[in-house]
Symmetry: C2
Subunit: 447 residues, 2 copies
């Protein structure tokens, strides 16, 4: 058996145990992990310093070094608090989605259950270890974690502490030692991505390149997104004040965010449409405009600073992640929808309009995980959606879509509770009994 197969099998076995534990048992180990990490802050900080020194000596970019630093500001305390916050969330497992009487004393339940085994691959930010450990155990899943090589020392020290805590408390909390496994080398990852018999879901947390590479090298479902190519359509019936505010927020509040806007589609029939462009320019945005936009813009404005030519073959499919935006005219809501359904990465797209008919059409026709009317695309976020925590943002079309909370780490099972019933007594399988099929009120169920 290969090392990867052995890791994956251990995780599967641990997942099978986790699945049977109560919320209390799963949460109690999280409080203990919180305490263990807190008590060992000094050794974690020493390990983190090593990573930071190595990072500086290898000329890692300033922004990457900043991400590595676990003790910058209140980052470490926030990480610890995050574990407790997840432990205190409502139990995502064992919720009855629906209950149905199939016949007398034969009742069908659809009940939430853990997915099973998660493989989580992340880059430099070491606090993800604590976050993912908490999310996985809370939702009854076993997790295999792989951190980036830049944070290897921090990662090793934190995983040592987590493993010690789990081991010391296995007898009382029943959370098994294999519940969280931490692996170090890149080779292990490519092997693990082949273990589709044991691993149920891969969650990459990192750059577009990482996500794209993982998606192309595994048959295991991937929860995440590579690109966040978000568009905003400013309709001819837009309130121009709203359009300006929304565009400036969506582009400049955090340009590196996956929910930042990358394409502005504007209807030239909107009065003073160029004011939207001027607002963006005033906020330091460079506009990549189509020929037609450039021509008409010049008719109304004397300067064209911050205006460059659009490369139509590339810029509509590009996540700038900077103060740049592609700008083109569309003549109707239908044309905007067509553009978006062709170029969007199915993350988040918005319409700005006071015309409710156009808005409803847009909301119904756009095929993205989040679709907005008169709001900034920046709202696409688990915390803003009120999910308590965020596992990631998914652009897949099945399983979890959009910002994903703890619910994205559970699936469901059917339970049928009977009294010896057999199919051949019923119509369709040789018998004469009819099915009752009466839905029961979920709120009155206690199982």
């Amino acid at each position: 058996m290969s090392v990867s197969e052995s890791i994956a099998k251990t995780a599967r076995a641990a997942g099978n145990i986790l699945k049977t534990l109560s919320d209390e048992e799963r949460s109690s180990i999280l409080y203990k992990i919180h305490d263990g990490l807190k008590a060992n802050a000094a050794s974690i900080e020493a390990a983190n310093k090593l990573d930071l020194e190595q990072a500086k000596s290898t000329n890692l970019s300033d922004s990457l070094v900043k991400r590595l630093d676990l003790f910058k500001g209140d980052k470490f305390e926030t990480m610890l608090q995050g574990i407790v916050d997840v432990a205190n969330l409502q139990d995502p497992v064992g919720k009855v989605n629906f209950a149905r009487e199939i016949d007398e004393n034969l009742t069908l339940y659809q009940i939430t259950a853990p997915v099973g085994v998660l493989l989580v691959i992340f880059e430099s930010r070491p606090e993800v270890i604590a976050n993912i450990t908490a999310l996985s155990i809370k939702s009854g899943n076993a997790a295999i974690l792989k951190g980036g090589k830049e944070s290897l020392n921090t990662f090793k020290e934190m995983s040592r502490i987590v493993n010690d805590v789990v081991e010391q408390n296995e007898k009382t909390t029943h959370v098994p030692v294999g519940a969280v496994q931490l692996i170090e080398t890149r080779e292990d990852v490519s092997d693990l991505l082949q273990q589709d018999e044991y691993i149920d879901l891969v969650i990459p947390r990192g750059s577009n390149a990482l996500v794209r590479q993982i998606k192309s090298s595994t048959k295991i479902p991937v929860l995440g997104h590579a690109d966040g190519i978000c568009s905003i359509y400013v309709d001819e019936s837009a309130d121009i004040g709203k359009a300006k505010r929304i565009l400036v927020d969506a582009k400049t509040n955090y340009p590196a965010g996956c929910n930042a806007v990358e394409t502005l589609l504007i209807n030239p029939k909107l009065q003073h449409w160029w004011e939207v462009l001027n607002s963006l320019i005033e906020n330091g945005v460079t506009l990549h405009v189509s020929k037609e936009v450039k021509k008409q813009y010049k008719e109304h404005n004397s300067t064209s600073d911050h205006i460059v030519d659009l490369d139509e073959s590339k810029d509509f499919d590009k996540e700038f992640l900077s103060l740049d935006i592609a700008v083109a005219f569309v003549e109707s809501t239908e044309a905007a929808v067509l553009h978006i359904n062709t170029h969007s990465s199915k993350h988040t797209d918005a319409i700005v309009t006071e015309n409710s008919e156009n808005a409803e059409y847009f909301l119904k026709a756009v095929d993205s995980s989040s679709v907005y009317w008169n709001a900034s695309t920046r709202f696409a976020d688990g915390f803003r959606y009120g999910f308590g925590t965020e596992v990631g943002i998914s652009t897949s079309k099945i399983h979890a879509r959009g910002p994903v909370g703890l619910d994205g780490l559970v699936t469901y099972q059917y339970q049928l509770r009977g009294n010896g019933q057999i199919a051949s007594d019923y119509l369709g399988a040789g018998g004469k009994k009819a099915f009752v099929h009466k839905d029961l009120d979920v709120k009155s169920i206690s199982i």
Copy 2:
């Protein structure tokens, strides 16, 4: 552009239109397809006769020929009625799963939406064309259908009629011509399985071999199951009468069904456990028993007809699909669960017991899509679950699990309806406003 890419792109474009249509529009074309097929029964029968003649001349097995015959008994009428039944189901699209006030005049909705584009691959049964056409259009999905070569003439004739009906009614129902595309050659399928940019879900309906081959040759999610290896654990506290009835039903009611039992795990502490085996033997079942079972069985029974040796390395992972069953002892519910979580295909597994503690542990610990207490595994079926229709039975762990109704062909989207709100006004993105995050009663929502 390859032929497959062109087919897939056409489907995507059609799906984008279907997504915007009302339930009335989607259902109305189904009534018209029903009428068209009914009016052309004679030409369909003639085409079906051709397929049957060819099948007989190529020595196709009797059971396959039987499946090909669309006019045997009331099969054709049942097929036609099925289209109307699906049209009359509740609209699966546009249901509000939850609604949440994010802030004043900023409301988040989670709403069901079509998956997009389905690729459905099926074997000999030609009535699947009508069934899948109805399911796809009702749920707002575009479908690409590929039938088996044995039913090619029937398939061609039915697809000609469906296409004509869609084309003639495009102006009134708005259902686009590309909503259902029918393809003929096997080469097209392998190409289509690579079109993961345009196709969202593959649904194979046919033999284990077909499903396994498709799963291994695409990155598109597959809804279905290869094996149905179902187990029943008869606990030491089982009611032996219930155990006998359940086992005989689960094994003999329809041995070729994916929900038939393949493995009997029996606790030797159960008084007169061998009576369960005798019931199976009396009903013509051959038992593949472990050495220990054989030894102890002989102590209580004089003959051992219908008893053969178990091949432990193979028989626990085998779907017999015949009047055969693997039989082994397990000493506890825990041991039964361990066996099942190791060997089961995650379809349906059951415990027979009067001990509720053992039952609850089993229900919680077994990792299959359906888990039963004191009921036959044969209940695992969309119609028996009361889903109105069945798309298939899925053993995947994410998206739809177990018997899948029309709900398995929809996903969800988030809609955010605002009044110009921007993220930077709120806490966490630079502002001072707090989020409200108040859940709204879904029943009072009308959007």
